[in-house]
Symmetry: C2
Subunit: 323 residues, 2 copies
């Protein structure tokens, strides 16, 4: 089939591109290269069934329709994917996550692209009333612009499923780790330890519990959604586990062979709107046969290994300076 | 206090304006007059504490900040408020409900307006898994662009409450009836019976159950939200009851003194994305002392009486032709 992958030069997107090309699909990758990177497509561009288009979706207007014309599916991953810095530019989540998703849905509807797969987030659960959090937990309250923007996109996708007959899969991801990962606590810690291996500053008081998924397992689920009609609807994607931020910090330090003192900035969360305890219930996906291959610890370690093998990524500008 | 009321020339908005002026507040009404009507402000404009500004919020940019400057509260009611015709113009709900709400929130944050009251809808519950539906029912699936756009606005408001410290009240309304009502089944039926009092065509198969609230009771709750800090968060607004669409049709016919045959278009719902059973659980608001004064039947009858007393409203263009 022909698949349009938005955010195709990004962390998860480029992994999806490689997987789909490997499975014999034709792939059109769209990306505005704001947080995606051309080197992530170094393998893909050698492939005759691959095409890349640099485009900013909220600004693209009707061009989006032309770009998806003839596709059998859209995997819509393009987003501002950083939950922490929403208040630096409150318009960004609205444009990149809500308006862009609406553009893609309209393009799918008008061009008759039948299948739409979307990367949402466990952040839509806010501070979940039930942990591990199932997809049908009590109606949540949003705590971040990022979560709110992804919730908004989810709602639009569901409305298009009902009103325009799209077959849609919404995945609510925990944080994803692995090859081509470029933002989040692992890269922050690896960078900080490169500057000073004797002290590691950790946001919050160290009691936050989070869950992580390896990009390999994430891509498995996305590829499955393209083939398997049982994946209509909304599904959590995560391992059935969580870890303390201090555990993750220790695994990173061990992998790098350093032994810093931990310093805590204090407070029970890392930033405004941070959710101090994330653990999604993955049973809905597991019941369909999906199973993550990597534990949280091995995902963290694989990420450290990849960052060490690709030191140019550590020299990328900090996302706070991207806006 | 000084209150900015968006959608201030609309059905609910103009009722809020009159109530707040009567209670001694200063009121700035904003409206793009797409579905609002200047005659609804005939009393307000005589009042020295009232000001009206014609403005389209999604297009207004930084002007919104100037308009809310000095306000103590924003009552944000401006919206595309018709759930049925979303697919005639899928951009409209996004612009008028999501982008406009974001503009107002940013204006509130930048200008330091501390209190934000919002009109959401029971449509965010989609086809609710629990009836009567409480605010913390299972995480819903959206079935209409209208519901999705209001859910999106809710999420943004909650994120601004968390991140920008706004005190916010989100009301999830059932359909509101009463003086200055200009769209929905009561006006549709009154219009149809004026054309032909012998036959009344009803969308669906007549088994849909809906709930209605009189605008008087709705305005009570909004006024309460401005005064009472216990109203932080999300609250259903409706009577603790529902009625069959055929019951409502009979009440309307009796009030008009006609006795038509009912014809049904068939199917278990009135339109794509229609929710065939709406009954919100109002206990969270009732526990704070709010209680509706009017039953569904008396709200329907008061609406018929008002439409009969203001026949110009029946001659307004049908909302399908508004876009």
């Amino acid at each position: 089939m022909r698949v349009t992958v938005t955010g195709g030069a990004g962390f998860i997107g480029s992994n999806v591109v490689d997987r789909l090309l490997g499975a014999g699909h034709e792939v059109v990758a769209l990306d505005n290269l704001s947080t995606g990177h051309r080197p992530f497509l170094n393998e893909a561009v050698k492939h005759p069934a691959f095409r890349f288009e640099e485009v900013d979706l909220p600004e693209a207007g009707d061009d989006v329709g032309k770009l998806v014309r003839g596709s059998d599916a859209i995997v819509h991953l393009a987003a501002n994917a950083d939950v922490r810095f929403g208040w630096d530019d409150p318009d960004r989540d609205l444009r990149q996550n809500v308006v862009a998703t609406h553009r893609m849905l309209e393009a799918a509807r008008r061009e008759g692209v039948p299948r739409f797969v979307f990367s949402s987030t466990g952040s839509v659960y806010g501070e979940a009333a039930v942990i591990p959090t199932p997809e049908d937990c009590p109606f949540p309250v949003q705590t971040s612009l990022y979560g709110a923007s992804k919730l908004a996109a989810e709602g639009l996708i569901q409305a298009y499923a009902e009103g325009a007959g799209l077959r849609t899969t919404i995945f609510r991801f925990v944080s994803v780790l692995g090859a081509r990962y470029t933002h989040g606590h692992v890269i922050d810690f690896v960078r900080a330890l490169r500057r000073n291996p004797r002290v590691l500053r950790i946001l919050g008081d160290g009691t936050q519990r989070k869950s992580y998924l390896d990009v390999h397992d994430c891509v498995d689920a996305i590829a499955m959604a393209l083939d398997d009609d049982r994946l209509n609807g909304t599904f959590n994607l995560g391992v059935d586990d969580s870890c303390l931020i201090t555990e993750s910090a220790r695994w990173i330090c061990e992998r790098l062979g350093v032994d810093p003192a931990f310093e805590f900035t204090g407070g029970d969360r890392g930033w405004i709107g941070d959710n101090p305890y994330i653990h999604l219930d993955p049973r809905r996906m597991q019941a369909l046969g999906w199973q993550p291959a990597y534990s949280i610890r091995s995902s963290v370690e694989r990420t450290v290994d990849w960052l060490v093998s690709e030191p140019w990524v550590l020299d990328l500008p900090d996302p706070r300076r991207h806006a």
